[in-house]
Every structure is written in C-alpha cells, then in structure tokens.
Amino acid sequence: MPFLNPTTYQKAAKTALENPQLRRNLGKATTAIREKRLRVVAELPDWQQLRDAGAAIKTNAMQRLPELLLQLEESVQKAGGKVHWASDAVEANQIVSSIVKSHNAKEVIKIKSITTDEIGLNDALLESGVVAIETDLAELIVQLAHDHPSHILVPAIHKNRSEIRELFLKSFNIKPEDLTDEPRALAEVARRYLRQKFLTVPVAISGANFAIAETGTVSVVESEGNGRMCLTLPKVLISIMGIEKVLPELRDLEVMLQLLPRSSTAERMNPYTSLWTGVHADDGPQEFHLVLLDNGRTKVLGDEVGRQALHCIRCSACLNVCPVYERAGGHAYGSVYPGPIGAILTPQLIGLETAHAQSLPFASSLCGACYEVCPVKINIPEILVYLRGEVVKEKTGFFNLEGAALKSMAWVFMDAKRYELAQQAARVGQIPFAKNNKISSLAGFMTGWTNSRDLPSVPKQSFRDWWRENKGKS
C-alpha cells in the first residue's frame, strides 16, 4: 500500500497526541456525528434485524466470491462494459494508466475512492504524465495540502475551516479580503474550480460501493453530487473496486442502502446514489471499464477468523465511536484504512512482518464500541485479539521481555501452589516500591503505567488466605 507510514502506531499516536488543535478538531467532529448516528438509527425499529441481514448477505457473498465475480464479469460485458483483473497495485495502476493513455488524456477527474488511495493511483498516473484531480471537496483539500486522508469518509476531519481557508488562498491565488472562512464561501471556491474540470476532462475514475453480480450494476454513494458529475459527464469511466465489494443481487441493495447512510453520515438517505449498468448510446460515458482488484484480499479470505474484515462497507461508523481514534486521529494508523477497521484490515492485507503492521492490532483498548455500531456486525475486537495471537506467532524465535514475563506467569497460573508462592513473593518484592499502600514509580516497561497512574500495593492477606482462615479449606 503506497500510503503506508512505517512508524509504529505507538510512536505515531504519541506525536499526534501532542497536537492540541488536532485533538479538538477530532473530538468535536466525532462527538457530533456519533450523536447524530444514534438518533437516525433509533428511528428504525428493525435496526438489529437489518444488521443481521447485512451480515448474512456479506457472509454469503464471501462464500460464493469466485462464482459471483465471474458472474459480474459476464453481466458487465453483456451491458457493454469491459472488465480487467488486477492481482496487485502495480497491475491495477498499469491497467488504468494504459486506458488513460489510449485517450491521450493529460488530466483525469476522480471521485473519492479509498481503493485508489490503497494502490497509490494518483502517484502512478503522475509518473506517466497524467494529473488526477480529486473532486470530493474534502479529498480536494487533502490533495491541495499534499496531505493524506485521516478518515474514510471525512478525509479532512483533522482540518478546521480556518486552516482550509489558508490553503485555498494559497492554492487558488485568492486575496485574503475576498474569502471568509464560511463553509459556503469555501465550497463556492472549490465549486468554480471543479465545474470547469467536469466539463473539459475526458476521463473519470471512481471507486465502487457495491457491484451487483446479477445485473452488472455498479453503485457509488456520495453526498456532494460531484461524484455524479464524474460518473456521467466524461466520455470514459474507469471504476476500480476491491473484489469483496460484489453483492449477489440487486435487491441486496435494499438492506445495504439502509445500513450505509445511517452508519456513515448519519443520514436516512445520502443525497446522491448513482447506479449504472454498462454503457448506453448517447447517454453518459461511452466507454466503461471495471477493474477488479485483489491486492491481498484472497489471502485474507483464506483466514477463517480474519476474513470477516472483508465484509466492511466502509461506512466509518467504527472510527467515529472509537475512543482511540478520537484521541490520536487517523494518521497514527499509518495506512489509508484508519481506525478499528484499519487496525484489522491493514495488517492482513500487507502481512504481519513489519513492526508497523504488528503494532496495529494492539492499537485498541478492546472496548467493543466498534462492534456495537458496525452495520454488518464485524466482530472487530475478536479479530484484534486473534491477530495479536498471529503477531506473537510471527515474533517467536527472538527473546522479548514481555513474552518471557507472560510465559512465566502462565506457568505460575498452571499450579495453585506456585501461584500462592508468587503472591507471597509479590508481597515481599514490592517493599522497595510501595509507600502509603500505593506504588507510584516502577522501572522498565511498567513506567508506561506509573508515569500517570498509581498502583495499589499488595495487601498482607490474599482472599484465599482469608477464606482459609474464616471458612476452612474449600
């Protein structure tokens, strides 16, 4: 994945937490959307059944993935589209670049797509002399700032409006007195710039929220209408989707389109839902390409526990409720997929070999808020815990202090006598550290605790000693 920051989560989060403006922006934004989501979800008495239905549809689709993908290919071809298979980022970028080149385009317009961020498409296009222009407002902001998205749905969640104003002044050569930081004024600047691009650029690139095997229909769900412009105005449309986005039938959208907007933007229905099937003479793009991207996904599918991560419909509800994301923000995850879903998806897609990938499953207090809101019921805490096991397996071979400590503790816990001896040893061992029944300073990796928190000291009598004394042996 091109936007991968090799810094471990712990280090990156530490830096992010030192930025008070970032914490304020994030806290404000996530709290607002959290409350709104609760309200719109409460309107549906059958929300839990909808979640069950969503989970069932995805489970079924993943079980039948090879068959569904072939069916999708056939349906798209029948409708006049072309289907390309890309096993990794390099292949996908080559496919897209060569289509763009065949039309002699120097610019392409893009509707927000995390999948294209995953493969680093913009950079790849630039290398072949093509400029990709982001048309989603927030995505444009991030692009102009030479920054990276920090949220799946609100890529510029880490920026406030005065920061955005500064950026626009610089990027579009506007005089300070001509632009306020009113959201409407800012949007107007972007609109004027983008309108001209929509009308002149011949090739558009999109992602896909869903693709229907039965009919070959592809769907993009968005808020601004800029996506609709990309999908309808240019002559050529290229859509790139991860293979896990396929759904068996059109009617599956009934469930998904109820789950997605409520979970993502906390709306009953998002403003723009585009559905298109192949090409139509004299209406919309006259050439349609669908790129099916694997890039590690079949490997994830092979893992019985981890494969649930492929059910994700990228709503970002798990980010908004995550207390860890709220504090440290999206960049700390060092990947295009931030937050709880990123913590389980990134390490599976890229493999667990790097220190960065290994740190991600540990970037959670396992509070379970993500699982509670996930519209397709991905048990994120379960996968986190499971992946931690995979990380430890990966690390075997070289000595580490934590591993040695936990292994010897397990050995102690395997025998009640050893355990009691350890209790006594702890009582004696703490003497140099304990003052007034508390421990305020420890060495080594335990300083992580005692820098901001006291620990209770070990009392004279354990519970089992009390029981022995008062209740006799059990």
């Binding site: 509070c367 503790m409 006291d454 519970f463």
Partner: protein, 247 residues
Amino acid sequence: MKISLFVTCLNDTLYPQTGIATVTLLERLGCEISFPFEQTCCGQMHLNSGYQTETLELVRRFLDVFEKEDAEYIVSPSGSCVAMIREYFPKVCEWAHDTALETRAKVIASKTLELSEFIVNILKLEDVGAYYPHRVTYHSSCHGLRTLGLGDAPYKLLKNVRGLELMPLENSESCCGFGGTFAIKNPETSTAMLSDKMRCILNTKANTCTGGDNSCLMHIGGGLSRMNTGVRTVHLAEILAQTEGRA
C-alpha cells in the same frame, strides 16, 4: 442456591476485600458458596496480549477445576473475566480447532455469571438491604456493558441502596482507557482517555466511583490517586455488602 465463586487472580491478590464482600453479600442473600482452591487465572491477560497457546492451557485448567464443582452457577465479581469465559473460552478452543474442549467451554460459559446480573436476573433481587451513605457514580466497564449486556442491572441495585446518592456520569459508555496491556503499550492514548474519564467523574461531585470490575477501577483509581482528587474507587460488591449495622 449453590454457587462456586471465581474470585479472579486480580481480586485474590490485590483486592481481597472485594472477594470478602462478594461472599458476605451472597451468603446474606441465601447462597451456599464454594471456593475451589485450585482456581487461579482465566487467561484474559494472556489472550489479549496474543499468547494463545498459554491461554488455551489456562482455559483447559479452568474447565478442569470448575467442572468438578456441583454448583448451579459460577459467579464472579469481574465483568471482564466473565466476558473472557463466556465469549472467548469457546472462541479460543475454536481457533485451536479443539471441538471437544469447545463443547466443554460452552457448558461452563453458559453457567458463568457476573455478580450484578446474577443477583438481578437469577436471584431476582434488586434491593439487597445495603446501606452506603455516600455520593456515588457508576463506571460501566466496557466488557460488562457491551460483551455481557449487563444493561441497567447494576443501576437497579445501586438505586436501592439506602443512604446512597447516585450521581449520573456523563459519557458513561466511553472506555476509561485501561484495556489491559494497552495502558502500558500505548500509555499516551490510554492516559488521554483516562483524563477525560476522570474529568467526567469529578464533574459528578461524587466522592466514590464504583464499578463491577477492579481492573478498570485500578486504572481510574490510580489516576484519581495520582491527582490527589480525594475521590476513591470501590467495587460494587463492597457497597452492596454494607448494611446499616456494619457501615
């Protein structure tokens, strides 16, 4: 009713008063309690740190110990340990493809209950005759709240405690930042979460913060103590165990 007590290694070693209060309370409510001495740890810390082989051994050991008991229920004053047993014991066995062990784990899981849900849902009691004349706020630990779905069981019990003034806690559903080794591995993020939690607790003007899990209370209490706030943390069992005569 005959029950087995799983006191947990943390309570046994660091918070014996919670175990003692649990025994006092449940005996007062008419339970006959056994305490299998062979019990040690449920393996939660090992699981959450990624040591699955060791976890599996501890799961097997737990099952060996508690299967010998003839009690109707296993009761524990710790939401996260009960969540470990109910939710993760079967999963750990499944991940290891040990179906025989998984079947055994499911049996034990089905009869293991957290203290407050045991009192409210099984004993069908909401007033346990307790007396605790303090301003108290309740921290609903994540495992109790989300994995076990304790709902309002703890609140029902607290509302019936005489002398107790229950102070509502803002953002009560958000995590305190403990998360086991998370607090040590990601100390900055964990401390940021703890600070917000402490601010909400101090805003309630309570002098006591209670909860059903001493691991979270150790974390919150450790922060409150470091800041010299004067607010203390007390396990729910200790509040419910106090009666007028013994207060």
